[in-house]
């Protein structure tokens, strides 16, 4: 009996961990929780609606992934897609970044091998959250490398819920960025590790990481091929490579030569030759056209006013607008305070790794200021630097808390004898005050971080979890009303039109029509051919007689428009119409933007320009709308998205007929009537 309690207490003692093991347990459990948190915070739309692909671009990625699973890699690489950009077609193999699709198919194959019978769509939907969780792990290791493990943990937590990252990696957003940010952070981490340890294995790993990032992301180059020696944007990388070769060659020669004067002469000659050769090569390349100049997208990062004046397509994309302060606040919250503080700590303790992260942070923040979409690229740097600030501040405070009466000893070593006793007394008095102050500040830090978490969850739930293809609104009694018009229209196309029908719409909807409607489109989101898009824009902004010529020349069977006048949906084609005019007018000067405006103002009511009231887009959107009662107390034909009564209610279509309008009038499809048998009779009509 006496041995029982002894063995029980022995048993308990064997479970009690040493401090190091306790610390490891805490760290591992925090990382596990952060991993799970990063995954589940991105699942709002899957829980609210269903597991579907969001937005526009992911539909193209999904379609190519489907093709890859069905046909294998070689057919995928050599795929010529005849269902988009009719009649030009598109060489898919050479114009996309296969990293994302290959990754998704790899995960799919592994799951299938383990006998989980998943559909490829589920894998596609959940790829981005999975990679976001992996990013938090990489952020932890990166933070550990730059500062210490505490900073790594904070970095992992911050990046798990940061809205700037969530916006492009939510479940259903099957796009390159979801995978590419993981690849980017991994490459940078492995690079810094290689710089710190000097080992060849890590540098090789960073090369592979870079290869993966290049294969997954269109964010910085368009095609992989000979771009690395040909495009203007890569010249800087080539220059650095060349300089490094010269540097190491000189180092080696210095090692071989013992005479310093001779080496100085050699150094002068070599540097002059190297610079001259490099300059001549660059000059020849640019003049002969072998090295292409910077593309518009990247030139506009350096000169932000360029796109506005020269390339309307780039300027029209809402993600390419410059950033206002509220977008920063929305996506970063308190990280905006912690970022400059973190920079201060990095400047205090300068090392290779901190210099690297400071440069990454500053350049990415500048580019994020130029283009809203690039906030995503700045997010890992901002999270890491903010984590350094949090970790350093908390460490300072806890050191203050933990300091016992050792302070008295250090107080006595400095100062003369007279002030010794007074300083001792002061320190004794201030001790509890300092400790209370430190506790209060720790609570303050905890409060700020909890507000950050609340903000991030709210933003994720309200702003970044909408699938864009399914619209939601609050009904009259506060209940949620779902508009599934897009999918209704696409499935109508799929089931009620001939297989070889061609659909003309604005380029936004191209990917969705091909993926869900399974029909050929004229232009889609790839926007690689500006003239083709301008042709469609011209057709939409001309009178019906001129437009039908263009429509017939493109062999179009159906025209699709998006109209928000009944529901108040503001991202419809009438609001995008001026961009159609600008892009069409950029190529065909017969379309002039002032024709559609009244005193510089864009109107659709009675005071609108006559060309606006009779163009094809107006007619297709407002056909039969003049009889429609949309809101209580307003006249028929009241456009709820523009807030006015439309000007031309009596719309008659001559060459097109209405084929389908969805239940909330959001998508409207028109069939192109075949030409009259005896058309020449109409031309020579009497009277």
């Amino acid at each position: 009996m006496a041995t029982m309690p002894a063995s029980a207490s022995d048993l308990l003692k064997s479970f009690k961990l040493k401090t190091k093991q306790q610390e490891l347990l805490i760290r591992v459990s925090i990382l596990c929780l952060v991993y799970i948190l990063a995954f589940i915070t991105r699942l709002f739309s899957v829980l609210r609606y269903e597991s579907m692909i969001h937005e526009f671009d992911p539909y193209f990625n999904y379609r190519t992934t489907l093709y890859l699973t069905e046909n294998g890699f070689y057919d995928f690489w050599n795929w010529f897609d005849y269902e988009s950009w009719y009649p030009l077609g598109r060489i898919v193999g050479g114009t996309l970044y296969p990293g994302l699709m290959v990754t998704a198919v790899l995960i799919y194959r592994i799951l299938r091998f383990l006998r989980f019978a998943v559909h490829i769509r589920e894998v596609c939907v959940l790829t981005a959250p999975f990679f976001a969780s992996n990013t938090t792990l990489v952020a932890y290791f990166f933070g550990k490398e730059i500062w210490d493990s505490g900073a790594g943990l904070v970095a992992a937590i911050l990046i798990a819920i940061c809205p700037g990252y969530i916006s492009r990696s939510v479940a259903g957003s099957y796009d390159n960025e979801g995978v590419a940010i993981f690849a980017l952070l991994f490459t940078f981490y492995v690079f810094v590790k290689a710089v710190n340890t000097g080992s060849l294995a890590w540098s090789l790993a960073s090369a592979f990481g870079y290869f993966y990032m290049v294969s997954a992301w269109g964010g910085y180059i368009r095609f992989v091929g000979f771009q690395h020696v040909q495009s203007g944007e890569h010249m800087a990388a080539m220059g650095v490579f060349f300089l490094m070769q010269v540097f190491y060659f000189l180092d080696w020669v210095k090692h071989m030569l013992s005479d310093t004067k001779l080496f100085q002469a050699f150094l002068r000659i070599t540097v002059t030759c190297a610079v001259a050769v490099g300059g001549i090569a660059l000059g020849l390349g640019m003049v002969s056209g072998y090295i292409s100049p910077w593309t518009g997208r990247f030139y506009s990062l350096l000169d932000p006013t360029y796109a506005k004046d020269h390339i309307p397509i780039i300027a029209s994309v809402s993600e390419h607008q410059p950033t206002a302060w509220s977008s920063f606040m929305f996506d970063f919250h308190i990280l905006l305070f912690l970022f400059p503080a973190g920079l201060y700590f990095c400047f205090k303790r300068l090392s290779d790794a901190t210099i690297f992260i400071v440069m990454y942070g500053l350049t990415s923040m500048y580019f994020a200021g130029v283009m809203v979409r690039l906030i995503l690229v700045a997010t890992p740097a901002v999270c890491l630097i903010s984590a350094i600030a949090v970790s350093a501040t908390v460490k300072n405070l806890t050191v203050l808390l933990r300091s016992k009466n050792k302070v008295v000893q250090t107080g006595s070593t400095k100062g003369s004898g007279g002030s010794k006793s007074s300083s001792k007394a002061l320190l004794d008095q201030s001790q509890p005050f300092q400790k209370n102050g430190a506790i209060a500040l720790l609570f303050g830090a905890f409060y700020l971080l909890s507000r950050y978490a609340t903000h991030c969850t709210w933003v994720t739930s309200e702003a970044y979890s909408s699938p864009s293809i399914v619209l939601a609104a609050r009904g009259a009694h506060g209940n949620r009303v779902i508009f599934d018009d897009y999918r209704e229209a696409y499935f109508w196309l799929r089931q009620n039109t001939p297989q070889d029908a061609k659909v003309m719409s604005w380029w936004d909807y191209g990917y969705q029509i091909t993926a869900m409607g399974n029909r050929t489109v004229i232009v889609d989101n790839n926007t690689w051919n500006n003239t083709h898009i301008a042709t469609v824009g011209r057709a939409m902004s001309s009178y019906e007689d001129e437009a039908i010529e263009i429509i017939r020349s493109l062999d179009v069977d159906y025209v699709l428009v998006v109209f928000g006048g009944v529901t108040g949906y503001s991202s419809d084609d009438i609001n995008k119409f001026l961009w159609m005019v600008r892009i069409g007018g950029g190529v065909f000067p017969v379309i002039k933007e002032p024709d559609y405006l009244v005193n510089g103002e864009y109107r659709v009511d009675k005071g609108a320009a006559p060309k606006m009231l009779n163009c094809l887009m107006y007619k297709l959107c407002y056909y039969r709308f003049g009889e429609m009662l949309t809101e209580y107390g307003k006249p028929p034909g009241y456009d709820r998205a523009r807030g006015v009564e439309i000007g031309n209610k009596d719309v008659k279509l001559e060459h097109l007929e209405e084929a389908f309008t969805t239940s909330n009038w959001i998508v409207r499809i028109y069939r192109v009537k075949p030409p009259n048998n005896r058309w020449w009779l109409n031309r020579y009509k009497f009277g």
Partner: protein, 175 residues
């Protein structure tokens, strides 16, 4: 200067040059004859000014300035050219009232609201920096206390103002 003395001293200089350095450079020989046979170059002691790298804290303050400009939406101001402050007409009285925050969109601003928000962010950052300076051991106690009070008040003011701004700008914030 008498030309005779000039040519004499120039000749002496030229002779000295010729004896010390034999040059194959034709331009040098032409220059020796054309202006410098009768012009005497002044004897100056010129040194290339030495440029020393700035200290880390100088760079940090420059970085803070650029951060302020980026975060207050400077690029947005340059491209979109919004007005400094907006205005709306009161429907009842017809008087024109100023509107500080651009309503309705997350990614839009007037110039003044951008600058004031950017200032608040930088203030919060500086507050945390002051807190760290306050916890540094090698300062007089009064300085440490004043830094601590300044730091805490900066962070609190910055956080409160920023939350207030975002609540005004986005009416449905956190509801």
């Amino acid at each position: 200067m008498a030309p005779k003395a000039d040519s004499q001293s120039a000749g002496a200089v030229a002779a000295a040059d010729a004896s010390s350095q034999f040059s194959m450079d034709p331009v040098f020989h032409i220059l020796k004859v054309v202006p410098y046979s009768f012009l005497r170059p002044p004897r100056l002691r010129l040194k290339i000014p030495s440029v020393s790298l700035p200290s880390a804290m100088t760079v940090f303050s420059l970085v803070l300035l650029t951060y302020f400009m980026v975060v207050s939406g400077f690029v947005y101001d340059v491209i979109v050219e919004p007005p400094g402050i907006g205005s709306t007409q009161d429907p009842a009285t017809g008087a024109v009232r100023p509107v500080v925050f651009l309503p309705g969109r997350v990614n839009g601003q007037y110039i003044i609201e951008g600058l004031s928000s950017g200032f608040m962010f930088v203030l919060g950052g500086i507050g945390i920096v002051l807190l760290d300076l306050a916890l540094d051991k090698n300062r007089a106690r009064s300085v440490k206390v004043s830094y601590a009070i300044a730091g805490i008040s900066s962070v609190v003011i910055a956080y409160v103002m920023t939350t207030l701004f975002i609540r005004i700008k986005i009416p449905g914030y956190l509801r």
